[in-house]
């Protein structure tokens, strides 16, 4: 019985496992959603956002919300693997380690998208801004890929550290700020109906970042999970 699964099958097995565990406990999604709501609330209180300034800053608030909720999700998703030695279990399988990386990225992305799909209409309602703009959705897609791509790599490092409760945001935010920044710029471009010539540079930057981050993560994941 010395068969080995294909790269794709192994990736899908990891995704399937994560989704069915989450489907059962729902702890990750509920935590991310509640936290998103809290961040939006805190923004609203702390900044007493005036209706006038809202439209300008809503892309920023939205991305900050996603970033904070995303850290929470990434941390928990990797902690589950680490706690009962499951990461070792994954690494013992005769599959390419990047299949494991992509599996985790896809399931983390799935959770991120679900949260975004729920947060967007709520945000639209709370602030009376229509966020269902195809351009914005594209930016959210791209921004989330970059964020989760590098976040999954860094979360696998963070859970192996002694100070794992606190490390992930500290590692992730400074690295991922360029992604968030271009996402905010592109999003608010689409929201304010700016001309495409203004939107394209941050969008291109976002695509370039995604490619670079995914390439680096793909090549180094091995190094990060091995002893």
């Amino acid at each position: 019985m010395q068969l080995r699964p294909s790269f794709l099958k192994a990736t899908l097995a990891v995704v399937r496992k994560d989704l069915s565990a989450e489907f059962r406990s729902r702890e990750l999604l509920s935590a991310m959603l509640v936290f998103s709501m809290l961040v939006i609330l805190i923004f609203n209180f702390a900044l007493e956002l005036e209706p006038a300034t809202r439209k300008e800053v809503s892309a920023g608030v939205l991305w900050t919300t996603f970033a904070f909720a995303g850290t929470l999700g990434l941390n928990r998703s990797m902690a589950v693997e680490k706690d009962r030695g499951c990461l070792d279990g994954l690494l013992l399988a005769p599959v390419d380690r990047s299949a494991i990386y992509f599996g985790k990225v896809i399931s983390n992305l799935a959770f991120m998208f679900i949260v975004e799909i729920i947060v967007l209409p709520i945000y639209s309602m709370l602030y009376g801004i229509n966020l269902f703009n195809p351009g914005l959705l594209l930016v959210i897609l791209l921004g989330s890929i970059g964020y989760i791509g590098v976040g999954t790599l860094l979360a696998s490092m963070a859970v192996q550290a002694r100070t794992r409760e606190v490390l992930l945001p500290i590692l992730l935010f400074p690295i991922v700020i360029p992604v968030l920044l271009s996402a905010v710029k592109a999003s608010s471009g689409f929201l304010t109906g700016a001309p495409m010539t203004e939107i394209m540079p941050p969008l291109n930057l976002l695509i370039v970042y995604n490619l670079i981050f995914l390439a680096i993560a793909f090549m180094t994941f091995d190094q990060v999970v091995e002893e």
Partner: protein, 230 residues
Amino acid sequence: MTPKPTLLKIFDWLSVICLIVATYLALVFAPTELVMGQVQRVFYFHIGTAWVGLLGFIFSALLGIVYLVTKDMKWDIVEVAAVEISVVFFFITIVLGAIWARPAWNTWWTWDPRLTTAAITELVYVAYFMLRAGIEDPDRRARFGAVYALLGGLSAPITFMAIRLFRSIHPVIIGAANENQEKMSMSGDMRVVFFFALFAFTVIFIDLFWNRIRLGQLQEKVERLKLKVM
């Protein structure tokens, strides 16, 4: 313990001399800038430290790659040395920038893309040290450090390019894209001091870098001796 190499001793002296000469040139020799006055003299150090700081960060990313390929601990020592010195230099850049900004822009700080990206870059490397502090196994520490230095290395060129990519009040001199961009006019003397400052800080950086690598090697040796005793 191996004695200090002669070349390194020469470098030590050379960097002391460079520092003194650069200080003299900047504070005394260089003409006072017409618009900004005396405070402009900070410029030579501002640019000197920024130059070596950014260069060191990029260098550490390359060293990260080298470590990941070779898995030889000596590259980790070199990488840490590069990051450590660059973090200090870059911090000086930011502080000097802030000192300059006070009269130039009438504020210590402004959220300009160049300044912000510089702050982020500095934070990346503070995070680098926190990551390393959280990992006990030296090999894993080195690998994580290398991966993070590689990711972080991206922020150095961004910081450099920031003023070219975004609208910024921070001036561009090197390869200014177009003529109508604000540009400080440098007289010939200023130019001399400017290039000497770049040279001086390069020498100082190399000297500190070398010394720091030696320190790392000695630390390693001490560790090894300690283990032998135990």
